[in-house]
Symmetry: C2
Subunit: 203 residues, 2 copies
Protein backbone atom coordinates (compact mmCIF):
# COMPACT_ATOMS: atom_id res chain seq x y z
CA UNK A 1 0.00 0.00 0.00
CA UNK A 2 1.35 3.41 -0.90
CA UNK A 3 0.86 6.50 1.16
CA UNK A 4 -0.14 9.64 -0.68
CA UNK A 5 2.02 12.46 0.62
CA UNK A 6 0.85 16.05 0.48
CA UNK A 7 2.89 18.00 -2.09
CA UNK A 8 4.02 20.62 0.41
CA UNK A 9 4.19 19.05 3.87
CA UNK A 10 4.23 21.76 6.53
CA UNK A 11 4.73 20.44 10.05
CA UNK A 12 2.05 21.77 12.36
CA UNK A 13 4.71 23.06 14.76
CA UNK A 14 6.29 25.30 12.12
CA UNK A 15 2.87 26.75 11.35
CA UNK A 16 2.20 27.37 15.02
CA UNK A 17 5.53 29.19 15.27
CA UNK A 18 4.67 31.30 12.24
CA UNK A 19 1.17 32.09 13.54
CA UNK A 20 2.74 33.25 16.80
CA UNK A 21 5.27 35.33 14.88
CA UNK A 22 2.56 37.13 12.92
CA UNK A 23 0.72 37.97 16.14
CA UNK A 24 3.89 39.32 17.72
CA UNK A 25 4.75 41.33 14.61
CA UNK A 26 1.33 42.95 14.84
CA UNK A 27 1.80 43.68 18.54
CA UNK A 28 5.46 44.65 18.94
CA UNK A 29 7.03 44.90 15.48
CA UNK A 30 9.99 42.97 14.12
CA UNK A 31 12.84 44.61 16.01
CA UNK A 32 11.27 44.24 19.44
CA UNK A 33 10.27 40.60 18.96
CA UNK A 34 12.75 38.02 20.23
CA UNK A 35 13.01 34.27 19.67
CA UNK A 36 12.09 33.91 23.36
CA UNK A 37 8.89 35.86 22.77
CA UNK A 38 8.03 33.68 19.81
CA UNK A 39 8.62 30.49 21.82
CA UNK A 40 6.37 31.72 24.66
CA UNK A 41 3.64 32.89 22.29
CA UNK A 42 3.74 29.61 20.31
CA UNK A 43 3.84 27.51 23.49
CA UNK A 44 7.00 25.69 22.43
CA UNK A 45 10.55 25.66 23.74
CA UNK A 46 13.22 27.89 22.29
CA UNK A 47 15.00 24.68 21.25
CA UNK A 48 11.97 23.68 19.18
CA UNK A 49 12.15 27.00 17.33
CA UNK A 50 15.79 26.37 16.52
CA UNK A 51 14.94 22.87 15.30
CA UNK A 52 12.78 24.51 12.62
CA UNK A 53 14.51 27.82 11.94
CA UNK A 54 18.06 29.14 12.08
CA UNK A 55 16.97 32.25 13.97
CA UNK A 56 14.63 35.20 14.10
CA UNK A 57 15.48 36.33 10.58
CA UNK A 58 14.66 32.88 9.20
CA UNK A 59 11.35 32.80 11.06
CA UNK A 60 10.40 36.18 9.57
CA UNK A 61 11.42 35.11 6.07
CA UNK A 62 9.49 31.85 6.47
CA UNK A 63 6.45 33.88 7.42
CA UNK A 64 6.80 35.86 4.16
CA UNK A 65 7.29 32.53 2.33
CA UNK A 66 4.04 31.28 3.79
CA UNK A 67 2.09 34.40 2.77
CA UNK A 68 3.41 34.15 -0.78
CA UNK A 69 2.90 30.37 -0.86
CA UNK A 70 -0.77 30.82 -0.02
CA UNK A 71 -1.17 33.54 -2.62
CA UNK A 72 0.46 31.28 -5.22
CA UNK A 73 -1.93 28.45 -4.29
CA UNK A 74 -4.78 30.89 -4.80
CA UNK A 75 -3.41 31.76 -8.26
CA UNK A 76 -3.31 28.05 -9.14
CA UNK A 77 -6.98 27.77 -8.19
CA UNK A 78 -7.93 30.66 -10.47
CA UNK A 79 -5.73 29.25 -13.24
CA UNK A 80 -7.68 25.97 -13.14
CA UNK A 81 -11.14 27.54 -13.60
CA UNK A 82 -12.73 27.56 -17.04
CA UNK A 83 -13.15 31.33 -17.29
CA UNK A 84 -11.76 33.07 -20.37
CA UNK A 85 -7.95 33.30 -20.19
CA UNK A 86 -8.20 37.12 -20.17
CA UNK A 87 -10.46 37.04 -17.12
CA UNK A 88 -8.29 34.48 -15.38
CA UNK A 89 -5.12 36.54 -15.87
CA UNK A 90 -6.94 39.69 -14.73
CA UNK A 91 -8.19 37.97 -11.59
CA UNK A 92 -4.78 36.48 -10.90
CA UNK A 93 -3.04 39.84 -11.16
CA UNK A 94 -5.46 41.44 -8.73
CA UNK A 95 -5.31 38.39 -6.44
CA UNK A 96 -1.52 38.47 -6.18
CA UNK A 97 -1.72 42.06 -4.94
CA UNK A 98 -4.74 41.84 -2.66
CA UNK A 99 -3.82 38.40 -1.32
CA UNK A 100 -0.56 39.79 -0.01
CA UNK A 101 -2.14 43.06 1.10
CA UNK A 102 -4.81 41.33 3.18
CA UNK A 103 -2.39 38.80 4.67
CA UNK A 104 -0.05 41.40 6.11
CA UNK A 105 -2.45 44.26 6.69
CA UNK A 106 -2.81 43.64 10.43
CA UNK A 107 0.94 43.99 10.97
CA UNK A 108 1.88 46.29 8.09
CA UNK A 109 3.43 48.83 10.48
CA UNK A 110 5.95 46.23 11.53
CA UNK A 111 6.79 45.43 7.91
CA UNK A 112 8.67 48.71 7.99
CA UNK A 113 11.35 47.56 10.38
CA UNK A 114 11.22 44.03 9.01
CA UNK A 115 11.94 45.16 5.46
CA UNK A 116 14.60 47.54 6.74
CA UNK A 117 16.36 44.73 8.57
CA UNK A 118 15.88 42.06 5.91
CA UNK A 119 16.09 44.09 2.67
CA UNK A 120 19.06 42.40 0.94
CA UNK A 121 17.99 38.88 1.93
CA UNK A 122 14.39 39.60 1.00
CA UNK A 123 15.27 41.05 -2.41
CA UNK A 124 17.39 38.01 -3.24
CA UNK A 125 14.74 35.60 -1.98
CA UNK A 126 11.76 37.08 -3.76
CA UNK A 127 13.05 36.03 -7.17
CA UNK A 128 11.94 32.53 -6.16
CA UNK A 129 8.45 33.82 -5.39
CA UNK A 130 8.23 35.49 -8.78
CA UNK A 131 9.48 32.37 -10.56
CA UNK A 132 6.76 30.26 -8.94
CA UNK A 133 4.04 32.81 -9.73
CA UNK A 134 5.30 33.27 -13.30
CA UNK A 135 4.97 29.55 -13.92
CA UNK A 136 1.26 29.67 -13.04
CA UNK A 137 0.64 32.76 -15.16
CA UNK A 138 2.56 31.23 -18.06
CA UNK A 139 0.20 28.23 -18.15
CA UNK A 140 -2.84 30.45 -18.66
CA UNK A 141 -0.97 32.72 -21.07
CA UNK A 142 0.07 29.69 -23.11
CA UNK A 143 -3.54 28.56 -23.22
CA UNK A 144 -4.56 32.04 -24.44
CA UNK A 145 -1.78 31.95 -27.01
CA UNK A 146 -3.02 28.64 -28.41
CA UNK A 147 -6.62 29.81 -28.56
CA UNK A 148 -5.41 33.08 -30.10
CA UNK A 149 -6.85 35.15 -27.28
CA UNK A 150 -3.40 36.67 -26.76
CA UNK A 151 -0.97 37.93 -29.38
CA UNK A 152 2.16 36.68 -27.62
CA UNK A 153 5.05 34.40 -28.46
CA UNK A 154 6.81 33.78 -25.14
CA UNK A 155 4.31 33.14 -22.31
CA UNK A 156 6.95 32.87 -19.57
CA UNK A 157 8.60 36.18 -20.51
CA UNK A 158 5.19 37.86 -20.66
CA UNK A 159 4.34 36.33 -17.27
CA UNK A 160 7.42 37.96 -15.74
CA UNK A 161 6.56 41.29 -17.37
CA UNK A 162 3.05 41.16 -15.89
CA UNK A 163 4.52 40.48 -12.45
CA UNK A 164 7.00 43.37 -12.65
CA UNK A 165 4.20 45.64 -13.89
CA UNK A 166 2.21 44.93 -10.73
CA UNK A 167 5.14 44.67 -8.29
CA UNK A 168 4.84 48.40 -7.57
CA UNK A 169 1.80 47.45 -5.47
CA UNK A 170 3.43 44.71 -3.37
CA UNK A 171 3.55 45.34 0.41
CA UNK A 172 7.28 45.94 0.04
CA UNK A 173 6.59 48.98 -2.14
CA UNK A 174 3.71 50.45 -0.16
CA UNK A 175 4.13 53.15 2.47
CA UNK A 176 2.17 52.87 5.74
CA UNK A 177 -0.19 55.57 4.42
CA UNK A 178 -0.94 53.49 1.32
CA UNK A 179 -1.77 50.51 3.54
CA UNK A 180 -4.64 52.55 4.89
CA UNK A 181 -6.26 52.74 1.46
CA UNK A 182 -7.27 49.22 0.41
CA UNK A 183 -9.95 50.35 -2.05
CA UNK A 184 -7.43 52.55 -3.84
CA UNK A 185 -4.87 49.73 -4.08
CA UNK A 186 -7.57 47.37 -5.37
CA UNK A 187 -8.78 49.87 -7.98
CA UNK A 188 -5.26 50.61 -9.14
CA UNK A 189 -4.38 46.91 -9.42
CA UNK A 190 -7.50 46.35 -11.48
CA UNK A 191 -6.87 49.29 -13.79
CA UNK A 192 -3.24 48.32 -14.40
CA UNK A 193 -4.24 44.70 -15.01
CA UNK A 194 -6.88 45.93 -17.45
CA UNK A 195 -4.38 48.01 -19.41
CA UNK A 196 -1.92 45.13 -19.58
CA UNK A 197 -4.56 42.67 -20.72
CA UNK A 198 -5.83 45.06 -23.37
CA UNK A 199 -2.22 45.19 -24.49
CA UNK A 200 -2.00 41.40 -24.74
CA UNK A 201 -5.21 40.98 -26.63
CA UNK A 202 -5.10 40.04 -30.26
CA UNK A 203 -6.72 42.72 -32.41
CA UNK B 1 15.82 95.85 -16.32
CA UNK B 2 14.52 92.57 -15.04
CA UNK B 3 16.67 89.60 -14.26
CA UNK B 4 15.45 86.26 -15.54
CA UNK B 5 15.73 83.78 -12.72
CA UNK B 6 16.16 80.09 -13.41
CA UNK B 7 13.01 78.21 -12.43
CA UNK B 8 14.83 75.91 -10.03
CA UNK B 9 17.80 77.80 -8.54
CA UNK B 10 20.34 75.36 -7.11
CA UNK B 11 23.23 77.01 -5.29
CA UNK B 12 26.55 75.75 -6.64
CA UNK B 13 27.66 74.80 -3.14
CA UNK B 14 24.73 72.45 -2.60
CA UNK B 15 25.54 70.75 -5.89
CA UNK B 16 29.18 70.39 -4.91
CA UNK B 17 28.14 68.80 -1.64
CA UNK B 18 25.84 66.38 -3.48
CA UNK B 19 28.53 65.52 -6.04
CA UNK B 20 30.90 64.74 -3.18
CA UNK B 21 28.21 62.65 -1.49
CA UNK B 22 27.67 60.53 -4.61
CA UNK B 23 31.41 59.86 -4.87
CA UNK B 24 31.58 58.83 -1.22
CA UNK B 25 28.52 56.62 -1.56
CA UNK B 26 30.25 54.83 -4.42
CA UNK B 27 33.45 54.46 -2.40
CA UNK B 28 32.32 53.73 1.16
CA UNK B 29 28.56 53.28 1.18
CA UNK B 30 25.97 55.23 3.13
CA UNK B 31 26.57 53.92 6.64
CA UNK B 32 30.31 54.49 6.60
CA UNK B 33 30.12 58.02 5.19
CA UNK B 34 30.07 60.84 7.76
CA UNK B 35 29.24 64.53 7.41
CA UNK B 36 32.96 65.17 8.09
CA UNK B 37 33.88 62.98 5.10
CA UNK B 38 31.43 64.86 2.89
CA UNK B 39 32.83 68.23 3.99
CA UNK B 40 36.40 67.14 3.24
CA UNK B 41 35.46 65.61 -0.12
CA UNK B 42 33.47 68.70 -1.15
CA UNK B 43 36.17 71.08 0.09
CA UNK B 44 33.80 72.97 2.35
CA UNK B 45 33.51 73.31 6.11
CA UNK B 46 31.18 71.14 8.14
CA UNK B 47 29.33 74.34 9.04
CA UNK B 48 28.65 74.97 5.34
CA UNK B 49 27.09 71.52 5.03
CA UNK B 50 24.79 72.28 7.94
CA UNK B 51 23.86 75.61 6.35
CA UNK B 52 22.44 73.63 3.44
CA UNK B 53 21.27 70.39 5.01
CA UNK B 54 19.98 69.28 8.41
CA UNK B 55 22.33 66.28 8.47
CA UNK B 56 23.57 63.23 6.63
CA UNK B 57 20.08 61.85 6.06
CA UNK B 58 18.99 65.13 4.46
CA UNK B 59 22.07 65.18 2.22
CA UNK B 60 21.29 61.65 1.03
CA UNK B 61 17.64 62.46 0.41
CA UNK B 62 18.63 65.64 -1.45
CA UNK B 63 20.87 63.52 -3.65
CA UNK B 64 17.88 61.29 -4.51
CA UNK B 65 15.82 64.48 -5.10
CA UNK B 66 18.45 65.66 -7.57
CA UNK B 67 18.50 62.36 -9.48
CA UNK B 68 14.72 62.37 -9.77
CA UNK B 69 14.65 66.09 -10.59
CA UNK B 70 16.97 65.51 -13.54
CA UNK B 71 14.93 62.56 -14.73
CA UNK B 72 11.76 64.67 -14.53
CA UNK B 73 13.45 67.43 -16.56
CA UNK B 74 14.31 64.80 -19.15
CA UNK B 75 10.66 63.72 -19.25
CA UNK B 76 9.62 67.35 -19.84
CA UNK B 77 11.98 67.50 -22.81
CA UNK B 78 10.50 64.37 -24.36
CA UNK B 79 6.99 65.64 -23.63
CA UNK B 80 7.69 68.82 -25.64
CA UNK B 81 8.81 67.03 -28.83
CA UNK B 82 6.35 66.63 -31.69
CA UNK B 83 6.52 62.84 -31.85
CA UNK B 84 3.23 60.92 -31.72
CA UNK B 85 1.82 60.92 -28.15
CA UNK B 86 2.16 57.11 -28.06
CA UNK B 87 5.86 57.31 -28.84
CA UNK B 88 6.41 60.12 -26.37
CA UNK B 89 4.74 58.22 -23.52
CA UNK B 90 6.70 55.07 -24.46
CA UNK B 91 9.98 57.00 -24.42
CA UNK B 92 9.10 58.73 -21.19
CA UNK B 93 8.32 55.45 -19.41
CA UNK B 94 11.62 53.93 -20.47
CA UNK B 95 13.47 57.17 -19.64
CA UNK B 96 12.13 57.32 -16.09
CA UNK B 97 13.54 53.84 -15.46
CA UNK B 98 16.86 54.10 -17.27
CA UNK B 99 17.51 57.70 -16.18
CA UNK B 100 17.40 56.61 -12.56
CA UNK B 101 19.25 53.38 -13.24
CA UNK B 102 22.15 55.11 -14.96
CA UNK B 103 22.36 57.89 -12.37
CA UNK B 104 22.84 55.58 -9.43
CA UNK B 105 24.52 52.65 -11.12
CA UNK B 106 28.03 53.56 -9.95
CA UNK B 107 26.96 53.45 -6.32
CA UNK B 108 24.08 50.99 -6.45
CA UNK B 109 25.72 48.74 -3.82
CA UNK B 110 25.50 51.56 -1.33
CA UNK B 111 21.83 52.09 -2.13
CA UNK B 112 21.29 48.93 -0.11
CA UNK B 113 22.27 50.44 3.20
CA UNK B 114 20.89 53.84 2.21
CA UNK B 115 17.42 52.44 1.49
CA UNK B 116 17.60 50.33 4.65
CA UNK B 117 18.37 53.38 6.75
CA UNK B 118 16.02 55.77 5.00
CA UNK B 119 13.12 53.50 4.01
CA UNK B 120 10.20 55.18 5.85
CA UNK B 121 11.34 58.72 4.99
CA UNK B 122 12.04 57.72 1.40
CA UNK B 123 8.66 56.02 0.92
CA UNK B 124 6.85 59.08 2.24
CA UNK B 125 8.96 61.45 0.13
CA UNK B 126 8.68 59.67 -3.17
CA UNK B 127 4.99 60.47 -3.49
CA UNK B 128 6.17 63.98 -4.39
CA UNK B 129 8.41 62.58 -7.13
CA UNK B 130 5.52 60.61 -8.58
CA UNK B 131 3.21 63.61 -8.45
CA UNK B 132 5.70 65.72 -10.45
CA UNK B 133 6.26 62.96 -13.01
CA UNK B 134 2.53 62.26 -13.30
CA UNK B 135 1.90 65.89 -14.17
CA UNK B 136 4.25 65.64 -17.15
CA UNK B 137 2.77 62.35 -18.34
CA UNK B 138 -0.75 63.74 -17.93
CA UNK B 139 -0.01 66.58 -20.38
CA UNK B 140 0.91 64.15 -23.15
CA UNK B 141 -1.92 61.80 -22.24
CA UNK B 142 -4.37 64.71 -22.41
CA UNK B 143 -3.02 65.61 -25.83
CA UNK B 144 -3.53 62.01 -26.96
CA UNK B 145 -7.01 62.01 -25.49
CA UNK B 146 -7.95 65.14 -27.49
CA UNK B 147 -6.50 63.75 -30.73
CA UNK B 148 -8.23 60.44 -29.98
CA UNK B 149 -4.96 58.52 -29.95
CA UNK B 150 -5.85 57.25 -26.47
CA UNK B 151 -9.17 55.92 -25.24
CA UNK B 152 -8.95 57.47 -21.78
CA UNK B 153 -11.04 59.83 -19.69
CA UNK B 154 -8.81 60.83 -16.77
CA UNK B 155 -5.24 61.56 -17.93
CA UNK B 156 -3.87 62.22 -14.43
CA UNK B 157 -5.24 58.96 -13.04
CA UNK B 158 -3.85 57.06 -16.05
CA UNK B 159 -0.50 58.83 -15.55
CA UNK B 160 -0.32 57.53 -11.98
CA UNK B 161 -1.26 54.01 -13.15
CA UNK B 162 1.55 54.07 -15.72
CA UNK B 163 4.02 55.12 -13.03
CA UNK B 164 2.97 52.37 -10.63
CA UNK B 165 3.13 49.84 -13.47
CA UNK B 166 6.80 50.71 -14.03
CA UNK B 167 7.77 51.35 -10.39
CA UNK B 168 8.75 47.69 -10.05
CA UNK B 169 11.88 48.65 -12.02
CA UNK B 170 12.95 51.65 -9.90
CA UNK B 171 16.36 51.35 -8.18
CA UNK B 172 14.51 50.94 -4.90
CA UNK B 173 12.98 47.68 -6.17
CA UNK B 174 16.07 46.22 -7.83
CA UNK B 175 18.42 43.79 -6.13
CA UNK B 176 22.19 44.24 -6.59
CA UNK B 177 22.13 41.31 -9.04
CA UNK B 178 19.53 43.07 -11.18
CA UNK B 179 21.71 46.19 -11.27
CA UNK B 180 24.23 44.09 -13.14
CA UNK B 181 21.82 43.54 -16.01
CA UNK B 182 21.09 46.89 -17.66
CA UNK B 183 20.06 45.40 -21.01
CA UNK B 184 17.52 43.20 -19.28
CA UNK B 185 16.06 46.11 -17.29
CA UNK B 186 15.88 48.21 -20.49
CA UNK B 187 14.16 45.43 -22.44
CA UNK B 188 11.68 44.79 -19.67
CA UNK B 189 10.85 48.50 -19.29
CA UNK B 190 10.26 48.69 -23.02
CA UNK B 191 8.06 45.61 -23.15
CA UNK B 192 5.94 46.72 -20.20
CA UNK B 193 5.61 50.23 -21.67
CA UNK B 194 4.57 48.62 -24.97
CA UNK B 195 1.86 46.53 -23.33
CA UNK B 196 0.52 49.52 -21.42
CA UNK B 197 0.46 51.73 -24.50
CA UNK B 198 -1.29 49.06 -26.54
CA UNK B 199 -3.82 49.02 -23.72
CA UNK B 200 -4.33 52.80 -23.95
CA UNK B 201 -4.73 52.90 -27.68
CA UNK B 202 -8.11 53.51 -29.16
CA UNK B 203 -9.19 50.57 -31.31
Amino acid sequence: MTTVLPTRPVPATADRILDATERLLARFGYNKTTVDDIATEAGVSKRTIYLHFAGKEEVALASIDRVVGRVTDQLRKIARTDAHPTDRVLDMLVARILGRFDSVRSYHQSLEDMFRSLRPTYLARRQRYFDAEAEVFAQVLEEGRRTRAFAITDPLAVAHDLLVATNGLLPYSLSPAEFGRRAEVAARASRIAGLLLDGLRRR
